[in-house]
């Protein structure tokens, strides 16, 4: 079980997080705190593995809380913020991810996924947890239903994939196909050598990326070879840049 603490000065914000957490069976609420000092005392007495922490709180902000905790008591943190201006300090403090308010369900699930993976790796390092699951083989083709007919689209032909609620839209040349699988699940099944998530609503074929222009808010805009502009959110930007820069080396 993963012990989770929630720290936010607004009761509604806390209950929003807790309501989302209650859907997960592997999580247990370890504490709920309305301000920095009580969170400090609570987390020291009753340690948590993961904490959702609001950055902007009166008196003591979320980063101060994390910084004041002894490293042994410092949980993995998912920051909550309305408008991010805390820059890089967060990443020295066990921060896994941060969520912008109002919180997006998909991003929430993703942040949790990251935290679970990190915790699993840590436990494996201590030798008391099984290997995290990895797909045996990457998805090589999509099966798409057109009426009653099944059509198979090779993954190599897909330029980019767009989220569409619980479905995803494949963009293949000028045509689009709908797959009955949400984008965040597809993201874990596609070959990372070809596809990369760039936004909560888009996965792109790296070979299709023609240009990338940074934005003032640390996001970026990319342009595919067919002229489609796509947003890259800052969460994915480092991975994308790393992949684009070593794209010169051929895949193994």
């Amino acid at each position: 079980m993963i012990r989770v603490a929630v720290v936010d000065d607004e009761p509604l914000a806390r209950s929003g997080v807790i309501a989302r957490l209650s859907a997960c069976e592997d999580l247990v609420l370890a504490g709920e705190y309305a301000d920095g000092p009580s969170a400090l005392a609570g987390l020291a007495a009753q340690p948590a593995d993961l904490a959702f922490i609001d950055v902007q709180m009166p008196g003591m902000n979320g980063l101060d809380v994390l910084a004041a905790l002894a490293p042994a008591h410092r949980p993995l943190a998912i920051l909550l913020t309305a408008h991010d201006s805390f820059a890089l300090r967060a990443f020295a403090l066990n921060t896994v991810d941060y969520l912008l308010k109002p919180v997006d369900d998909i991003r929430f699930a993703e942040a949790l996924h990251r935290a679970r993976q990190l915790l699993a790796w840590r436990r494996r390092d201590h030798g008391d947890a099984p290997e995290p699951q990895r797909p045996d083989a990457w998805l090589m083709r999509f099966s798409v239903r057109i009426g009653r007919r099944a059509v198979f689209i090779p993954a190599a032909d897909v330029q980019w994939i767009e989220a569409d609620g619980d479905y995803a839209t494949l963009h293949v040349g000028a045509r689009t196909y709908i797959v009955r699988e949400p984008l965040h699940r597809l993201a874990t099944r596609l070959d990372p050598a070809q596809f990369l998530r760039v936004h909560r609503s888009a996965i792109v074929d790296l070979a299709q990326v023609a240009e990338l222009q940074p934005l003032t808010n640390r996001d970026a805009m990319l342009r595919l070879q067919d002229g489609t502009p796509l947003r890259v959110s800052r969460t994915y930007i480092d991975a994308l840049l790393a992949r684009l820069h070593d794209a010169g080396t051929p895949p193994r």
Partner: protein, 370 residues
């Protein structure tokens, strides 16, 4: 959406404050006079007393120039009237000339012995016009320098005032664009909540948050990079996609090397919003929205959309006045930002679709082409 505090102008301008040119400027302008004095003295050089007296004249001019400049600057700063300034300066220069003359006589006595017995002190007052005139000429040059500096300052102030006025106009135009969209979206979210569609409502709220952040992140610039405007428009389109589902068929085509092009803030979003509100949203079936951005000599933006059945094809007004307001607003901002270098055409074409074509100067951010 944008906070209500009016922008404070960066510099405050007090209308009658006189600005002084730097101290060295009038002295530099007076340098040719000193050169003239040297040249005029050249023929009499080597004649003992004459050389000495000419040197004294020159030194007197050079040394008097500094206090004279200070006096004249003080008068200028106080805004003293001309009929006071002229006699004051005439008197001051005359006095300075007299002092120089007396010094000169003293020098002659030191070099050539005592004064001749027939020396009359009236002679002191004669033959001093040369020095006096030189100092007066220097004052005149100084006055010209001051007037020129004032003229320059006035021009700069006028330009600044013009740019502030344009800034205010652009701001006023910009604010008309946003609120109705915000209220429509809030209404849609409220409807989702009423229908107990929690996840959809949360998704919409997250997207609205994204869009608001995108508009706030861009601050108060009138121009942004095309990439910024695309990101903003995309954040807006995500909301519309959630509302319209597959009724909105979107096709983007952005030409190479244009992401860094400068465009007016909120150029695309209102045009795309028009296309959706009056073209796609009222349709029963799906509708196609195409956005094409190309750049050769100028930047061209073409947006076309299907229209709802029964649209008056002659006037092309599917939605009436609001559409005209949004379009006119973009047009007015364009013509203020790029007078005589922009173009906006809108209307229904033969294909039965509504087309908006905008062109504006193509300017790229330095280092934008990767």
């Amino acid at each position: 959406m944008t906070t209500g505090t009016p922008p404070t102008p960066r510099t405050t301008i007090t209308p009658h404050a006189r600005q002084l040119p730097p101290f060295w400027l009038p002295l530099l302008a007076g340098l040719p006079l000193a050169v003239c004095l040297v040249l005029m003295a050249a023929p009499s050089l080597g004649h003992g007393v004459a050389t000495a007296s000419r040197t004294v004249f020159l030194m007197a001019f050079v040394l008097w120039a500094i206090p004279l400049t200070l006096v004249q600057r003080r008068l200028w700063m106080r805004g003293t009237r001309l009929w006071v300034v002229v006699p004051t300066l005439l008197a001051a220069t005359y006095l300075m000339t007299l002092v120089a003359r007396v010094l000169n006589i003293g020098l002659q006595v030191a070099i050539a012995g005592p004064l001749p017995p027939d020396f009359s002190w009236w002679l002191v007052l004669r033959g001093i016009e040369g020095t006096w005139l030189t100092l007066i000429a220097f004052c005149a040059i100084h006055a010209v320098v001051n007037y020129y500096a004032a003229l320059k300052q006035e021009q700069a102030q006028r330009l600044e005032a013009q740019s502030l006025a344009r800034d205010a106009e652009l701001r006023a135009l910009r604010y008309q664009l946003q609120p109705h969209f915000l209220f429509n979206t809030l209404n849609a979210i409220s409807a989702l909540v009423a229908e107990q569609k929690g996840p959809e409502a949360r998704q919409m709220l997250a997207r609205l948050g994204d869009f608001l952040r995108a508009t706030l992140d861009l601050g108060h610039a009138h121009e942004v990079s095309l990439a910024e405007e695309l990101a903003l428009t995309d954040a807006y389109l995500e909301i519309e996609k959630a509302r319209l589902g597959d009724r909105l068929q979107l096709k983007w085509r952005v030409g190479p090397g244009l992401l860094g092009a400068r465009v007016p803030y909120l150029l695309l979003q209102p045009l795309v919003e028009n296309a959706i509100r009056h073209g796609i949203a009222p349709r029963r079936g799906s509708g196609r929205l195409e956005i094409e951005i190309t750049g050769e000599a100028a930047l061209h933006v073409r947006i076309s959309n299907d229209l709802p059945a029964g649209t008056d094809l002659v006037s092309g007004t599917g939605g009436g006045r609001t559409e005209a307001v949004g379009l006119r607003n973009v047009g007015e901002r364009l013509s203020r930002l790029y007078p005589a270098a922009c173009d906006l055409h809108a209307g229904v074409r033969d294909d039965g679709r509504y087309h908006v074509a905008v062109s504006l100067p193509l300017r790229l951010d330095s280092g934008a082409r990767a």
